[in-house]
């Protein structure tokens, strides 16, 4: 025997100690998470009421009012961002997985990783220079573009990973049926990866939905309803920021409510992502 025998008792003790360590580590990791959750729920729930979802912000000095415009604004911004981020991200991810083994693919992958690590405020400044300055005003458009740019690398790398997981035998099966390559890629390979890709997309949306910095000088903010996309638009995150640093107690209450709503949206998106995963075969025909 090459490995010296350790007495069984000592070995078992070692096992238990290590198990205990990992368990404690998990507990420590969960403490801040649950503290945040519970604190936001406690603070936010008391401030949350129907008005928050239906009313516009009240002028300074008046109490009450809500953030209806900011909720709609956040959804609008997410929609605009998805229009940019999803097609580019998904098709780019498919390219990287299927054709990206050359030097070009390596460069795209590297660029995407760098873009993923760029501080979000830098993306905001970039869009400010690119869209806001030429247009001479803040706009929902610019905000959506900033969030969309942030979405691209997230969606692209998730899609790439999931498309790579699709077994090659399915590509071969499809190609051997005389199905053209691009149809195979979209209808068989991407279809097989869809559940995972949707999960990735939902998580990306949850991530950009919570961004504040890139919106500060792109979408700016707005105290009123805004239906035009070339005008400044409110968002929950920027509104939360403004209200939290303001000196009014009522605004602080509303900021907590906004935090709770944001957190709930993220939670709902995550649950939705899981439900999508379960519905894999629900649509099978006949």
């Amino acid at each position: 025997m090459i490995v010296p025998a350790v007495p069984a008792g000592r070995r078992r003790l070692g096992d238990r100690v290590m198990t205990a360590f990992t368990f404690v580590a998990v507990l420590i990791a969960l403490v801040p998470l649950f503290s945040v959750l519970i604190y936001v729920i406690l603070q936010g729930a008391s401030a949350l009421n129907w008005d928050f979802f239906t009313q516009l912000p009240k002028p300074v000095g008046e109490t009450g009012g809500g953030m209806a415009n900011a909720i709609v604004g956040t959804l609008t911004l997410i929609g605009l961002a998805s229009c940019i981020g999803l097609p580019i991200g998904i098709l780019g991810g498919v390219y990287l997985a299927e054709l990206g083994d050359g030097p070009l693919g390596a460069w795209i992958r590297f660029t995407a990783d760098v873009l993923n690590g760029v501080p979000s405020i830098v993306v905001g400044v970039f869009v400010y220079a690119l869209i806001v300055v030429p247009m001479h005003r803040f706009s929902a458009f610019a905000g959506g573009a900033a969030l969309g740019i942030m979405m691209i690398p997230l969606v692209m790398r998730t899609t790439e990973e999931l498309v790579r997981l699709v077994p090659n035998s399915l590509r071969e099966a499809s190609l051997a049926l005389g199905i053209p390559w691009w149809v195979t890629t979209l209808r068989i390979v991407l279809r097989t990866a869809t559940v995972g890709v949707i999960t990735g997309v939902v998580l990306a949306i949850a991530r950009i939905g919570g961004e504040t910095a890139p919106l500060l000088f792109t979408a700016f903010n707005n105290q009123y309803w805004q239906t035009r996309l070339d005008q400044p638009i409110a968002s929950l995150t920027v509104q939360l920021y403004n209200y939290a640093i303001a000196p009014y107690d009522d605004w602080h209450r509303q900021a907590w409510a906004a935090a709770l709503v944001l957190m709930s949206i993220t939670l709902i998106l995550n649950i939705a992502a899981r439900l999508v995963g379960r519905q894999r075969f629900a649509k099978a025909r006949r």
Partner: protein, 279 residues
């Protein structure tokens, strides 16, 4: 080492049990003609100058030890080999007299004419049984529901799977047993009405009962389909095929009527292989 039994007595028994159920169609012309075909993976020379004809509406088995290039050669027949990065093919492969590697030949069209069944059953996991069979038509633009219904039923009947699945066509194809999945894959390949069916060790991942079903199926299909069957199972080749080709180290050692090749092999290496001295 035990003395191997004489080749003659060992194999002749197999042929008595093979009954020819279906009258054979026209076999005067070779449907596929391979002329000095070489296949490479990068610098690896996997197939070295194979010349052979595959008779119309007959089953040709290609046997040989693992790594002899038989699967690679099979994959050159419907231009699947070239999908591997760094892979290339030299030589001429004629399908009904036309070179499938000609510069104006379309691999997509060729693959519709030359179908393929793989070693492991690979139904599309997101699709139902029905959709799996219909995939080849649907993804090539056939939308007519009646046409699809008819082709799906016909293909599943031809693949001897209809009776087992006719009431559960909406269930996922991946939920079937291994043997059923493989017959589903055969039905899927038949649905695009190919002239040739390539089978790459189609039963090697299956249990004996399922293997038997696949073999029976191959024999039935031979009526109007040219089949090339790669197998490392010599008994299977003997049970199923009309012609057998033996490959070794990327070369074609010999080919001939199955009964002759197994009873009176011309080449010493063939005899050594079929009597179990190697491989």
């Amino acid at each position: 080492m035990m003395e191997a039994p004489a080749a003659g007595s060992l194999w002749s028994r197999f042929f008595e049990s093979v009954d020819r159920v279906v009258p054979l169609g026209d076999a005067e012309v070779d449907r596929i003609q391979a002329i000095d075909v070489h296949a490479y993976f990068g610098r690896t020379h996997a197939v070295r100058g194979v010349s052979i004809g595959f008779a119309t509406n007959r089953i040709t088995a290609i046997i040989g030890p693992s790594g002899c290039g038989k699967s690679t050669f099979l994959r050159t027949l419907n231009r699947m080999h070239e999908l591997v990065p760094g892979a290339r093919v030299e030589g001429r492969l004629l399908l009904d007299g036309e070179d499938i590697y000609a510069s104006d030949a379309d691999p997509v069209v060729i693959r519709r004419r030359i179908g393929m069944v793989f070693q492991r059953p690979n139904p599309f996991p997101t699709m139902s049984i029905y959709d799996n069979v219909a995939a080849g038509l649907r993804l090539n633009g056939v939308r007519d529901r009646r046409v699809l219904d008819e082709v799906v039923e016909q293909s599943l009947r031809h693949a001897a799977l209809w009776d087992e699945v006719k009431d559960v066509l909406g269930r996922p194809g991946a939920g079937l047993s291994g043997g059923q999945q493989q017959r589903l894959c055969i039905a899927r390949a038949l649905a695009v009405k190919p002239e040739v069916l390539l089978m790459d060790e189609p039963a090697s991942a299956l249990d004996p009962a399922s293997t038997l079903k696949i073999e029976e199926l191959a024999k039935t299909l031979r009526g109007n389909l040219t089949i090339v069957l790669v197998t490392h199972n010599m008994q299977q080749a003997a049970r199923v095929s009309d012609t057998t080709a033996f490959m070794l180290n990327g070369e074609l050692v010999e080919s001939g009527p199955t009964s002759e090749l197994f009873t009176r092999p011309k080449d010493r290496r063939t005899e050594d292989y079929i009597t179990g001295r190697f491989g």
